[in-house]
Symmetry: C2
Subunit: 649 residues, 2 copies
């Protein structure tokens, strides 16, 4: 990208020393890191009901048990991650914790799980946000894919601008959502206390059950509903990844933010689930199961609850839909905050290409942001922005990383305990270890439940993608290791000048760049020097030879015949042969190049020099020197100097 | 393209010395160079009737006069070009003749006209060929664009394989078409002699005239019909362009081929026009004007004549449609034979980019072939393969180049006459000059008629395209001239070595390639030497500085601060400043590069070296030396040697 449009889109570049400016106070950290877990209450209840609806409305009472189980799970997981906040003040993502406590392969497993799930977070959240919009404005339904892609691009651009500004922009819909949901509860409570009986618009619709569920089938269906509801837990780990972005005291602020988030999540999820059951919200994955015509618009469960709760106050319904869409789309931002630092750490550990390690103009990990956006857009398009399909792939990765992370924490406390004698500290550590142990066991059990109940519904894709990522990262590491091994020099190794240097000046015509190259080649005092040309057209070659004599150069002109009119191959062969004759010497190829100012001028001149240079690089023992001759149009080539300081020490 | 698929598509490369093999005997030259003029009889009659139909069937009798006028024109033009064949045995295209006799601007005018018309020849012929196919198989109508594009690509590939093989493949449909048309005449004559009254299928359809034409309007309509019929003349000049491809005696063979082509063209055109009038073929540009429903399939006039002539012998009808489609699609080949050599000559004269001058693997002008195919495909898609629209752009260029070419020949004979005293020779020359003069006058008049009658029907596009091409070619020439002027050296000029050479070795880390680059830089005995690194990450920079000391190199390490994490800009600024300090010296930048074997390995390593090299080339007084360090994966990089001989003279 050229400088101006890039600056317009991303803001002006930041100096490395401006790094500290991007730290976050709690009130901004909450929207930045918690929009994912907070927003997932917008669809978690609906996902539970969608599964139970397979057995008809008679099974909806199971939602009470499922809801309670999920709240318990939330408490356990949040309590566990609070321990991590204190133990890893520099960021205790599942990858870091697993790497430190469980070793390389568990860490990479956690990393692949996280990478896959970040991508899914973006896809699921954006698609769910668009569903909230289309619930309020059904005419937009047919543009769901385009809207989802557009919002993903928007998020990527905002993140490329930098964390702090993002925090401010994201605060509004996040707090707006929380306020909207609590207002909805208050409205519902007051109206019910006044004796109103509130029913959802779908309460009168029949639910055609897909079959009768009893015994083991019933248990499995309940477990599948539970697994779907577990979407409410996604993103809880984001805070523990992002501790370095908090203001000091980092750990305490992070743990506090986590607790606030947990309280908000649990109350909102509980309230929405209660209202859904009280209002008798009926949902189904296909409108025909509700006796509606195929293709009919179905508002989300939350949209129905909001409409019923607010009654005639419809502008409040639209407000809730707007902030729901807002927070859902921004929930994707949690992934944009988690994915790039993770890929940067992985790149530093040489498990991913090193471009992912560098910070861009705005001090964010630009390449990671772009990679995440592209992957999510691919998913949205592949699944045609259908939430029920994408959500099947979700959560597995989350619970893999939960389990590994909590397991790692158990090990962490064991090590800490071994080195501590103070009884108070030990008591504290034992308590933490117990919390993490229960977290590991519970999330492990949930992982099995999710895997079993969702495998055939699409989760198998993730169980392929994750090992592929795992193996890819191992292969990248192997590659970097082998390159590093080849490049390594022993301490105190000295440069060894070549014993001889044979200069070969490539010549196409007799003109100023050629003379300049010959002059320069002579000035480096090579052991031998010759000019080399490839004869494609006999008359041109003859003319060159005559001119060469005319100028009376001491450098002999070698002509290579090229019956197939190639340039690159004869030169390569000649240079190789020259190197084979004296393998301890080097051959330096001088390429006279005239430099033009505009890209379109390049079209008018043969680019064989470029091809040849690329191929010569692959020839051992050959140095390639470009001798540029800058034409007047090339001298116009402008560029702005920016304050740069040289320090010679 | 990699070697194997390319060889499969195009055949194995030919040696330059195999050039002679591609010469053509008359019987192959006729289909190669004459499929355009021969095939245009397939639509010329129909185009005349389409215009006359605007005034209703009452005006069809005008077709007799129009037909005779076109035949006279054909005789004049062919007689004129026979003179060119003798006068320019090395190829006497309009460009060459105009350049030699009329000067630079008329020659470029002719060239732009020819280039535009070659593109149109491909588009018109291919689209008309597809129309012949859809006349016999109406179900293919909706694929007309795809079919046209497909045939154009096919032609391009055949031409990339080389002229001779093309000749063989093209002989079958060309001779098949001529035989088919003559057979059709014979059938018609015999059946009419036996007393049959033959009528076309459309004879019973009413023709709704667009208006009443009398006086000047009638004359203009007649002239417009004549202009449309002039499509029969396109491609006549192809032989005079292609004389070098004939077997010896080239001029005589070419003139003879031209005459044979003329006789075939005139008889076929006359016969088809007579039959169209006798059979009462009714045509219109829109089916509703014939009382048919909109969108109804309308067979071409030739298809109707063939169907009526052969009566129950329907397989002969299908035969004629097949060979008509064949010759029309191959007529496009005339352009593929004319366009690439013309662009090659223009490139040699530096009016077009020089890539168009070179012969490819199969000794044909590959780039010209590809350019022509792309332009024609663009036209076909832009005009949705609609013949009546594209044909409006046609012919203007042809008659511009006819007029210029014949005018140039008049000048040519004048010059020849001035240098000749032999009375017999002078008589001969005077006769030739008279023929060319009448050719110039007649084609000039036709050009005016075509311009006037077709301008508002689409010809204006060509009157814009041609001057644009003209100016573009002049600009390209100006560019090459100014570059050549800058590059020019005086005879006897000697290379001037720089007075000093400051070596700058770029360093990112301390590894083997760095040591190698330092060693090589020391070996060229520079006036000064230093190592340069850009500090992006403080800890990494510090580590590098320590390692540098550890190795005890005599070369000082300069660290550039880069607060914006850029690499290229600080290095450029530093090198520029260095050059400014001593402008008469050069700065040589040594870039240690490690070379990987696979393109995907490049993804895993920063490509900043590549960007930097490109930018350094623009900095005056800077030499760039790549010091490659080939890794084991790079050494695997295979390439086949092909017999290459070096000759040092």
């Amino acid at each position: 990208m050229s400088t101006l449009p890039k600056q317009f889109l991303l803001g002006r570049p930041l100096r490395s020393s401006q790094m500290g400016e991007t730290l976050l106070p709690k009130r901004l950290a909450l929207p930045v890191f918690c929009s994912d877990p907070l927003s997932s209450v917008a669809y978690a209840t609906e996902e539970i009901l969608l599964i139970l609806a397979l057995g008809g409305t008679a099974l909806f009472h199971l939602a009470w048990y499922v809801g309670v189980a999920i709240i318990v799970l939330l408490v356990v997981v949040i309590a566990s991650y609070r321990q991590t906040c204190y133990a890893y003040p520099n960021g205790g993502g599942a990858y870091v914790v697993s790497a430190e406590n469980l070793g390389r392969n568990p860490a990479l497993t956690a990393a692949s799980a996280l990478l896959v799930d970040y991508v899914l977070t973006v896809a699921v959240s954006v698609v769910a946000g668009v569903a909230a919009i289309t619930s309020a404005a059904p005419s937009l339904s047919k543009h769901a894919v385009a809207l989802s892609v557009g919002f993903t691009v928007l998020l990527a651009v905002m993140n490329l601008r930098g964390v702090k500004e993002s925090g401010r922009i994201f605060a509004i819909p996040t707090y707006g959502f929380v306020i909207g949901i609590y207002a909805m509860f208050a409205f519902a409570a007051v109206r019910m206390a006044l004796g109103h009986t509130i029913r959802a618009e779908s309460a009168i619709l029949p639910v055609h059950s897909a079959g009768t569920y009893t015994g083991l089938a019933l248990v499995l269906l309940g477990m599948r509903a539970f697994a779907s509801g577990c979407t409410a837990l996604t993103g809880v780990e984001a805070i523990s990844n992002g501790i370095p972005a908090f203001l000091k005291p980092k750990s305490k602020n992070a743990a506090m933010t986590l607790t606030i988030m947990g309280i908000m999540s649990i109350t909102m999820f509980a309230g929405i689930t209660v209202l859904a059951l009280v209002y008798k919200v009926h949902v189904a994955s296909d409108p025909t199961e509700l006796g509606l015509p195929a293709g009919a618009d179905m508002p989300t469960a939350l949209a129905q609850i909001a409409r019923a709760s607010f009654g005639d106050w419809t502008f409040l319904f639209y407000y809730v839909q707007a902030v729901t869409a807002g927070i859902l789309i921004l929930a994707a931002n949690t992934a944009f905050n988690g994915f790039p630092p993770l890929t940067s750490i992985l790149a530093q550990d040489r498990y991913l290409p090193r471009q992912l390690h560098n910070r861009g103009d705005r001090l964010v990990f630009s390449n990671g942001i772009i990679l995440l956006a592209l992957a999510a857009i691919g998913l949205v398009i592949a699944f045609k922005a259908d939430l029920s399909s994408i959500i099947q792939l979700y959560i597995i990765g989350v619970f893999i990383s939960f389990t590994l992370s909590q397991g790692g924490m158990v090990r962490h406390w064991k090590r800490e305990l071994a080195g501590t004698t103070d009884p108070a500290a030990r008591r504290h550590m034992r308590r933490s270890q117990a919390i993490n142990a229960s977290g590991a066991v519970v999330t492990g059990i949930v992982l099995v439940i999710v895997l079993v109940t969702k495998f055939t519904h699409g989760a198998w894709i993730v169980t392929i993608a994750m090992p592929v990522l795992f193996l890819l990262m191992k292969a990248i590491r192997r590659h970097y290791d082998s390159v590093a091994e080849e490049l390594r020099v022993d301490a105190g190794a000295r440069p060894e000048p070549p014993s001889g240097n044979h200069a070969v000046v490539l010549v196409s015509r007799m003109h100023a760049p050629t003379l300049r190259a010959v002059g320069y080649a002579q000035s480096i005092h090579p052991s031998s020097i010759e000019a080399l040309t490839v004869g494609v057209d006999d008359s041109e070659t003859e003319a060159l030879r005559r001119e060469w004599e005319l100028h009376g150069l001491e450098v002999p002109l070698v002509v290579l015949d090229s019956p197939y009119r190639e340039i690159t191959r004869p030169v390569l062969d000649y240079v190789r042969r020259k190197h084979h004759e004296s393998p301890r010497d080097v051959v330096t190829v001088f390429i006279p190049e005239y430099v033009l100012g505009h890209w379109w001028e390049g079209i008018m001149h043969n680019q064989s020099a470029l091809r040849l240079k690329a191929r010569l690089l692959f020839t051992p023992g050959v140095m390639v020197t470009s001798v540029p001759y800058v034409l007047s149009s090339g001298k116009k080539y402008k560029y702005k100097e920016r304050g740069v300081k040289a320090s010679s020490k």
